[in-house]
Subunit: 384 residues, 4 copies
């Protein structure tokens, strides 16, 4: 249905932070990348009519809906982009796939392993019909991360010994900060763990080329009651974790150390991944998004040292599409790269990465972390 | 003419690096900022018909022209955006102003002081007709730079003692890198000086709130002959500087040190400005675009130190329009901020900053540097 | 016995790395600090007569012994400085205390909790006789660490939420690196855990002003067999951990994350401690020994940021004894500060810090880590 | 006279900052380095009897004198270490050389070119008698600097294009800071220029392996009157520069940029040298004394980047004498290395580096800077 018109109609559910970021990606991707299809921003969906209409206008969507079921069924929508809280990911994504649409779903894939499993199964069934499903771990698309992946996959670090992943924030440091949906387990599934930690877990596994096999974990909710977001002055319970940390073993024998928190004063979007191998190490930090740090233990010993690579050259992943060497890109570009890769996977008739199956596996790690924490930090198998 | 339709038609001349960056700005600005007018990307101009047609399609311009004079005269163009080499800045900008169009002109304003002076005069005349002219020193619009400007203007550094500006690159390190137009004095006016140094000079003066009064300068062309860009194997003369450095006195008594080079191995887009005052210091570097370093000498001595501010908060300049705290922007966003401020100045009926008069003053500094270097590094008054 | 002559005779056991570092401390301390006693480098002890005689000459000790029991009994020795592998710490320290000598014992205090408990008991008994015993966690004496301790103790960080401690090295990355005594559990007790991790644990607890209550831990020996150090070509078993990592809860509710490894390529002496509180954070790293990073969340939001304090001012701890502001000290100075504080504690008739009781508590944490790891990373109470 | 007893008697003039630092070097060098002679700290000299007697005791000198002429003539003094203000360097050094003593003289060599020329001539004459004279540019002896020198001398950077030297301090930022001797031209010769800039000039020339041929310079005294150091409340004139900056050409064609100031808020001992060549770059900063940054433009382009080398390995210059890899040294160790190299040069019967001739050449650069600044920043030949 796509081939005829060379366009792919996009329908997006949600218009908050992620909706705005994805809109910028759909709007921009064709201006910088050669694409197999031209994405057409067909329709956006939100429950509040006035707000969604304003969002459509501001963000550049041709139409709007207030019911996601109608959006999914629109003829001019070929791909559904799910930017809602985790609690509705499964329902929307599965419906879209079953209606014959490709799906891009924000991370974490779902709020529970059961939901994620149903989603992965739906993606498998839909693949038989040429439909593609991708989960939005956007940081894989940072040029520096993609370069790190290339280097590690080429064996530059040798056997992996240590993997460290952290996502430190300070969003909730103020005890009077209100009870937003991200603090409600029913909507968000978990707190820092799924919101922040899921990124660190996905990146760590992606870069190491390995999977976490088991964990021992602690979670904590430091501030258990907060003012309601309605401004009423009433207070409600925080039902998710403020912080989660765990140690892990990877299937291949590497050790892992992970931490996600909204209570690390001084850190804002402090995502960091480090991999140590027998032949070298890499470090990447979101705060220096355009850089990769690399240590090569095979070089002449007297001049070895961590080097800082500016990953902005035309021969670096994604970077050639943008600006000349040395000119940086920012956070939003990760989504542009994401939708570019999804469009290419659709054209190529292959599963995009990360697939829903990969999203399920991350969900199993999140689940193991929660089970370990609930058990008092006992050792817990992933998927067990 | 604008008010009626609430739109402002943009016409752009040039579609290379700057043309692509400005296109992204015009395309994006209305999605993130509340604007007095909606910019309409009316037409783009370039001399090669096939290339300009392709550029119009890729970059999202509604029409194209191959003669800038026709572009300037189009009824659907209210503002002309000049993204050509410096040699044509004056002619295009003056014609546009005289035809009744607003102008945004890339930096440096011109290739000579005489041209710049004519442009500033044309801008003055046009202002009487409600037309606005701005020169594109885009780095003033980095949120961190804008914050630095606020802090210094508020007196946080006290009397300024030292100003350092540098723009270190390595573009021309390879002696077999071809003889592009930026190495031709007839087109580019100067080399590292105008291309890179002009940014450092503008930023330094803007932040210090003062003007360079005199300089002693050295310039050098390390590689004097390079292969022609036509691939013929023939070689031609480099007629601009590879590097320029100078010391300066500001009108208010501060000392300045400046350097621009295309021969600093390891540096790519190494723009850096530092201001030291009696009460503190600030440092900003393009490589860490989202950060500002601040030292406050009035704080408790035992815990004084340079702090690194992540300039991504909603209460920081420009930053609130983009993403939540901690999510970075990149190089291209400086142009988005630039056109936003120009549109606002047009609506407000006031001169934008930097105006053509400010562009002329920078040109006078560049001219003093060239005169000093030609004289063998003797002391040279700016504007003298 | 000391008061009469104003001198304090020092006897040291061991002359390897720690012996050399302590010798420099005893030799130097009186040149920079005002002391209650003048330390006299009376005698040094080692088992190999030729080597210990050479060491005495090189390091500046007046005499030497080959039997530590004779050293402990010498009349001209008032204080015994124990710089041997952990397996002999208890025997030598207890004998010295019982013979009427003060003791400085290298860390970790012992190889087992039982030994450490006996040492702490001996120290208690000796204290009744005016004898003092200190364990050598030297990094507490880094000026930046001492400043951090002052700031945290003064409440500058508020309630502590997170504590991170890591000591990353790459000492054993090469699988052909020989089987030195530090890889033998009988001599060293543990591997990276006691050698490196003990420092991180002590610093973290010292700075947080709190104790680790329980842990879940992983340890690993990546390379299990190495060439014997005798050059015979034969190989032997590595009987200690190459890496240890654990998550922890502090008694006061903070979460902890710890890691020690000899397999982190690119890291050499990568000791790092971070403390996040509700009002701010501090970070200290051994690689930037003279600096402390501080974030103060109570400052004006728009200019908050981690600041880097150069802890070299005369009003900073220890720093005034050395050089003018800005001139750095190095690793060895931590020992000079350590012996200075020990001499002062002896003169003041009070327990030095860290006391043997504190050393015992760290030993209990190390023991809990080993028990948890042995149990398969299950939750384990410290001291349980 | 030395050979017989295997010792070399040291006599030092001055016991302030430099006297304390040199004392630590003489006291320590034999404990860590194998030396051809054992330095004996024979006598120290100062004008105030009570103060010099206390200094001798504190710093570990066997005797003291109040007249430097008596010190120079002592039979037990073989080497005179001149740690006085620059105004007495020439008289003491020449007298010592003529009396048959080796000389170590603090930098800058003298207060004028004439004095420096007389000193270099005296050193030449004394060399015929086997006497050695060295000027104390101690930062050449930082391991990282020595490594940089090795790399550049081996051609790793290719042809040198740019050299940057800066020494930024904030010592005099407070206008009520008293009028110490360093602010008196009669004693100090110059201000920031000779005190700080001389180090940057020496390092830059030493690393580049080239000499500054000409300069254009600015100097400034921001605060011209300060309270007398006697506490009387009276004020006196500052007769030296607070800041000096200059641009330079090296004999071999490289461009140089230099700055020394006591008015850069936030900087303490901010000595920094950078060298850019056609094949790479190096950067060294005193604030990270144990590190060297290296960029190698001949490596695989996609993974090029500035690397940070921890210069603490046994195979790095000087470092093997101290502690295992990763353990840092500090400021004072530069003097220990300096006296070690001087002792070795004496034993080898060759001129130490930097010799008085090298000190004279730096003085000629300082003089050219002062002449250029006096002329209004005109171009000035070094030695012209």
């Amino acid at each position: 249905m796509v081939g005829d018109r060379g366009e792919l109609g996009i329908g997006m559910v949600g218009y908050a932070f992620m909706g705005r970021a994805h809109s910028q990606a759909w709007r921009t991707v064709g201006r910088f990348f050669d694409l197999p299809f031209t994405p057409r921003m067909a329709a956006i969906c939100g429950r509040d009519q006035a707000l969604v209409a304003a969002a459509a206008d501001r963000l550049g969507w041709a139409a709007w809906e207030t019911d996601w079921k109608r959006l999914v069924e629109r003829d001019d929508v070929d791909l559904v982009d799910v930017c809602t809280p985790g609690s509705s990911h499964a329902e929307i994504s599965i419906a879209a796939l079953e209606t014959g649409k490709h799906v891009l779903c924000e991370k974490p894939l779902a709020n529970t392993v059961d939901e994620a499993r149903a989603m992965a199964a739906a993606a498998d069934r839909a693949a038989a019909n040429g439909l593609r499903a991708m989960v939005g771990f956007n940081f894989r698309r940072v040029p520096a991360v993609a370069l790190a992946h290339q280097l590690i996959a080429a064996g530059r670090l040798g056997t992996i010994r240590h993997v460290r992943g952290a996502y430190l924030g300070s969003h909730m440091l103020d005890p009077e900060s209100p009870l937003v949906w991200r603090l409600d387990a029913a909507q968000a599934g978990s707190g820092a763990l799924g919101d922040l930690g899921a990124h660190a877990i996905d990146l760590a596994q992606h870069l190491a080329g390995d999977r976490i096999a088991g964990v021992s974990a602690l979670t904590e909710t430091f501030v258990r009651e907060r003012p309601l977001a309605d401004g009423s002055g009433a207070r409600g319970q925080v039902t998710v974790d403020d912080a989660a940390l765990f140690i892990a073993r990877f299937a291949g024998g590497a050790l892992g150390s992970f931490e996600a928190t909204r209570f690390a004063a001084g850190h804002t979007e402090g995502l960091r991944v480090e991999v140590n191998g027998e032949l070298g190490s890499i470090v990447w930090e979101l705060g220096a998004l355009n850089q990769l740090r690399l240590f090569d233990a095979t070089e002449e010993p007297a001049t070895q040292g961590f080097r800082t690579i500016q990953v902005t050259r035309a021969d670096h992943p994604y970077a050639g599409a943008w600006w000349p060497d040395g000119h940086t890109i920012g956070y939003e570009h990760t989504f542009t790269h994401e939708v570019r890769d999804l469009l290419q996977a659709i054209a190529d008739g292959r599963d995009p990465a990360p697939s829903f199956a990969e999203g399920l596996q991350v969900q199993e790690v999140l689940d193991a972390v929660q089970r370990s924490a609930a058990s008092g930090a006992g050792w817990t198998q992933v998927g067990g």
